[in-house]
């Protein structure tokens, strides 16, 4: 990198109605400038690559993605951010109120950008119809809502602004006698729709330092040496930490504490933290991290969970020579007899893939040691009490000297249960005596944090001609990746829910969580149930077809009834599967009969309650056009 001194930019601009004159660094993006220099943190950084829209702001009346705009381009312009929409201290705009009313904000992290995009859509075309609204919001991603409530809000705001609807629709509905069944507005929504809520990455403290993590390019390697001297000598660097700096018992995880806060002598997956630099500013931290020299000795790695279970496979953790994180076996009845009694046995395997949670808020946190020597970590942790106990051991402090504060979670979905970076933050705050902040990039979030367990499920089902299930054998092998995290719990849940809500006399279930050198798997919405339900319900459909039965009918023959006992010997007072099937059958306009009987003409598709496929070109569609420009 060049040693030349950058030439600062002199900027004059108007922001939210206020004229300003500021200096900026030549490389700064508009997003950095408004967040870091102007402390307007309503615009967020979700991806840094123009993909998510959380950073949307108006520049000279046009909505732009501020993560893609060099700040120099804003010179001489009028900038409007979410903070300026309603004016300082002003009432919320109709768009913001509509987002509040419809419950469009959940985690809230995408919401400032969504509100900006909605505002832009209605400014550009106050009469935009739903298709055009969708199209104009196409550059903004939300992970929580499924968009429906957001679109409802934009339509509501449009109607209020045009006078077609009374502004009273934006106000709270009366709760009546009960909140249940009534539309109740979220208490925290105003702060989200106004961009006022501060997530961990929005927080600043006086004297705050910035952290950059160095990560492994290898999936499995021994660390021969780490030389941090050059990084430490770079002006502006406060400290560099590695596993050697951990004072206590290093290890975290939801069940087994097998993961050090930074790789200890050995890396087990690409993206694992090796060292962390803390410096005066982000740029210095990034430069220093690139000066750390690590000598690796790559060793044999294993990337397939079934291969990892074979004798002689590379061992990921010495304590588990068979690479098994957890095996959950469940037995009920006599499976061999059940298959012998069957008229038909259907066997099939099902694969599911790793999935990233993709919360809009990348991991972030800030740590400091307070006046009473309490090591404090503020982060969007979904498991702060457990984190607190683990961290106390890792940094060798009594529990009353460790505090975790949960910041607003900009989407978690299970992905923020792991104490993946809080240890590095705490340690650096202890070493420097200053507040230290770490904000992941989207790339870091994807490469280094847990994913949904990929699973390979072998399903065998014994059936009588009349549709009764006589036996099930269910074997699931899950890729737990390099560390244990929540694998044990996920395997347990998958096993408990393996056969679905069906009454099966003979059951054999085995779920295995296996270590490999892939990115660790962890908690993810449904916690293992998705994988087993995907297999179970797919298998039910296949078996119904083979028996020539209607798939609803086949399920009704086998479903549990009130008072049923599950294969884990839990008695169920009430069972709702019957009502679920009834509702699903009705809502899907199911045409009764086995699937093989269905003709080419299906009456169940495209009803009034279904939305047509997404189209583009709504704003220049001519009268009478059909939706020709379909998504291929």
């Amino acid at each position: 990198m060049s040693e030349q001194t950058p030439t600062d930019l002199q900027l004059e601009f108007q922001i939210n109605g206020r004229n300003m004159k500021r200096r900026a660094q030549p490389h700064q993006r508009l997003l950095d400038f408004i967040r870091d220099d102007l402390a307007l943190t309503g615009a967020k950084e979700g991806c840094g690559a123009g993909e998510c829209g959380t950073c949307s702001v108006f520049v000279d009346g046009k909505l732009v993605k501020s993560c893609l705009m060099p700040v120099a381009k804003a010179n001489g312009t009028k900038i409007e951010t979410i903070e300026g929409l309603a004016g300082w201290g002003g009432d919320l705009t109709p768009v913001q109120k509509a987002f509040h009313k419809t419950g469009a904000s959940q985690c809230g992290y995408c919401i400032p950008g969504m509100v900006m995009a909605a505002t832009s859509a209605l400014r550009e075309n106050p009469k935009a119809d739903i298709e055009e609204i969708k199209e104009r919001l196409g550059g903004n991603i939300c992970r929580c809502t499924g968009y429906t409530k957001i679109f409802e809000a934009v339509e509501m705001a449009r109607d209020v602004l045009s006078g077609e609807a009374n502004a009273a629709v934006l106000e709270a509905d009366g709760a009546g006698k009960s909140y249940i069944g009534n539309n109740v507005r979220r208490l925290d929504a105003p702060s989200k729709v106004a961009g006022r809520l501060r997530y961990a990455g929005d927080m600043v403290m006086p004297g705050m330092l910035h952290m950059q993590v160095l990560r492994s390019p290898h999936a499995h390697a021994l660390i021969k040496s780490i030389d941090t001297s050059e990084a430490e000598n770079l002006p502006g660097v406060a400290c560099v930490i590695t596993a050697d700096d951990v004072p206590g018992e290093d290890g975290f995880g939801v069940f087994v504490h097998d993961q050090p806060i930074m790789a200890r002598g050995r890396v087990r997956y690409v993206g694992e933290a090796i060292a962390a630099v803390t410096a005066d500013d982000m740029l210095t931290a990034v430069r220093a991290a690139s000066l750390i020299k690590v000598e690796y000795e790559p060793i044999a790695a294993v990337f397939d969970s079934e291969e990892a279970m074979q004798n002689g496979a590379p061992v990921v953790h010495d304590y588990a020579p068979d690479n098994i994180v957890k095996h959950i076996p469940i037995r009920k009845g006599d499976v061999e007899q059940g298959f012998a009694d069957a008229d038909l046995v259907v066997e099939q395997s099902y694969d599911t893939q790793a999935v990233e949670h993709a919360y809009l808020e990348p991991e972030a946190g800030i740590a400091y040691v307070d006046h009473d020597d309490v090591v404090t970590v503020v982060s969007p942790s979904q498991n702060i009490t457990h984190h607190r106990h683990m961290l106390a051991k890792i940094i060798d402090r009594p529990i009353n000297k460790v505090r975790f504060i949960m910041s607003p979670v900009g989407g978690g979905f299970g992905g923020k249960e792991d104490m993946i970076y809080q240890g590095m933050l705490a340690l650096s705050a202890m070493k420097t005596g200053a507040p230290v902040r770490l904000v992941y990039t989207r790339e870091e979030s994807i490469i280094s944090t847990a994913k949904r367990h990929p699973a390979r499920i072998t399903y065998k089902m014994g059936l009588k001609q009349d549709g009764r299930i006589t036996a099930v054998s269910f074997r699931m092998i899950s890729d737990g990746g390099a560390y244990g995290l929540s694998t044990e719990g996920v395997m347990r849940k998958a096993a408990i829910l393996a056969c679905g809500p069906y009454n099966i006399p003979n059951v054999q279930i085995d779920t295995y969580g296996v270590y490999t050198n892939n990115t660790p798997s962890g908690a993810f919405r449904t916690f293992g149930a998705m994988q087993s339900q995907f297999a179970t319900e797919s298998h039910m459909d296949i078996c119904a077809e083979k028996l020539g039965l209607d798939p609803f009918e086949f399920r009704r023959i086998n479903m549990m009834q009130n008072g049923a006992v599950t294969h884990t010997q839990q008695q169920l007072g009430s069972v709702s599967i019957g009502r679920v099937l009834e509702a699903a059958e009705k809502a899907s306009r199911w045409e009764t009969g086995p699937v093989s009987m269905r003709g080419q003409e299906r009456a169940d598709l495209g009803g009034d309650d279904t939305r047509p496929p997404c189209t583009l070109g709504a704003r220049f569609r001519k009268p009478g056009d059909d939706d020709r420009q379909e998504v291929a």
Binding site: M1, S2, Q4, T5, P6, T7, L9, P26, H27, R29, G48, A49, G50, E51, G53, S56, K62, L63, V64, K65, C67, L68, M69, P70, A72, K73, N75, A117, S120, E135, R136, G138, G139, L283, V286, S290, T441, E443, E444, I447, C614, L616, G617, R619, F620, D625, R628, Q629, V631, A632
Partner: protein, 305 residues
């Protein structure tokens, strides 16, 4: 992370050319700058430090458009959103609204320029196939003894391969010049992994004009992107259809040919299937766009993808 020592915003073409001619090695020209920031990130170029960036967006000579005898000169600062919002451009370049609406999203379209998209020379560029179909050329300026000298080059000759062009040191692309096709029907097909903000796996463009008296094809323009190192104009297919009254069989046959042109490094079979469906759909959508009947639309063969 992208860093630089200098960020210049020249306010005349002459200033821009001087800065560019004297720029230290590694200096980058930018217009919308929507490509360079995502490029300088982990997984792509990583951390990049540039001695300087020269931003052309405030050079007035690159703004706006002018018409001349069936051709249009689109200044290099014309952004994608203009093809959607400018009624006149929409009428003159009937395929461009469809191309534009598939390009990135509303916000990026406010920044990203057609010229920048072409100069990047990505095999998947959305803007290049339409410009090939419209006989596009680039106007390029350079300094010669302190005077501004210009040359024009066909886009076909300008793009040499992925990321490689005929642009010489000191040169700046100042305009895109292409045919205007008022009264034609236009269409654009694109497939990628998401509706907005997606890079094309394959894209196809069509412009079509029927003879009012005979209903035969008076002129047809077809081009494909994403299927080979450089985007392709489908001249053979155009010749096959020109002067004909289109039937279902003819469209299906015409769509069959270009599949053989697929020369991508990856997913070739998939792209061949898509190309067939896209050429068919592009022709049909262009016919519909100019108000013509689509032959046997209900029996349209849907590509099995």
């Amino acid at each position: 992370m992208l860093t630089c020592d200098q960020y210049h915003m020249p306010t005349s073409l002459a200033d821009a050319l001087v800065l560019w001619q004297d720029a230290p090695e590694g200096t980058q020209l930018v217009a919308g700058a929507t490509d360079i920031l995502p490029w300088a990130r982990e997984g792509r170029a990583g951390d990049v430090h540039l001695p300087a960036m020269i931003d052309l967006s405030r050079v007035p000579e690159l703004d706006g458009y002018t018409l001349d005898d069936g051709r249009i000169r689109l200044g290099a600062n014309v952004v994608y959103q203009q093809f959607l919002t400018d009624e006149k451009l929409r009428a003159l370049l009937p395929c461009m609204p469809y191309c534009s609406v598939w390009f990135a999203d509303d916000q990026i379209r406010e920044q990203a320029t057609l010229a920048g998209n072409i100069v990047n020379a990505s095999p998947a560029a959305d803007g290049t196939p339409p410009m090939l179909a419209l006989n596009g050329e680039l106007e390029i300026a350079r300094l010669e003894n302190d005077d501004i000298a210009r040359r024009n080059i066909a886009i076909d000759d300008f793009i040499k391969g992925p990321g490689t062009t005929d642009l010489k040191p000191g040169e700046i692309v100042t305009a895109v010049i292409c045919d205007t096709l008022e009264g034609y029907g236009g269409s654009f097909q694109k497939v990628g992994q998401r509706r907005s903000l997606v890079i094309s796996s394959v894209c196809a463009v069509a412009c079509i004009k029927l003879d009012e008296a005979t209903g035969k094809v008076a002129d047809i323009r077809l081009a494909l992107g994403g299927i080979s190192p450089v985007p392709l104009r489908l001249t053979k297919t155009e010749q096959l259809l020109t002067g004909k009254r289109l039937t279902r069989e003819m469209i299906v046959e015409a769509a069959r040919q270009p599949a053989d042109l697929v020369a991508s490094r990856t997913r070739r079979e998939y792209r061949r299937v898509v190309v067939r469906g896209f050429v068919e759909a592009a022709i049909e959508d262009a016919l519909a766009d100019c108000g013509a009947a689509v032959p046997d639309a209900e029996t349209r063969e849907t590509a099995d993808v």
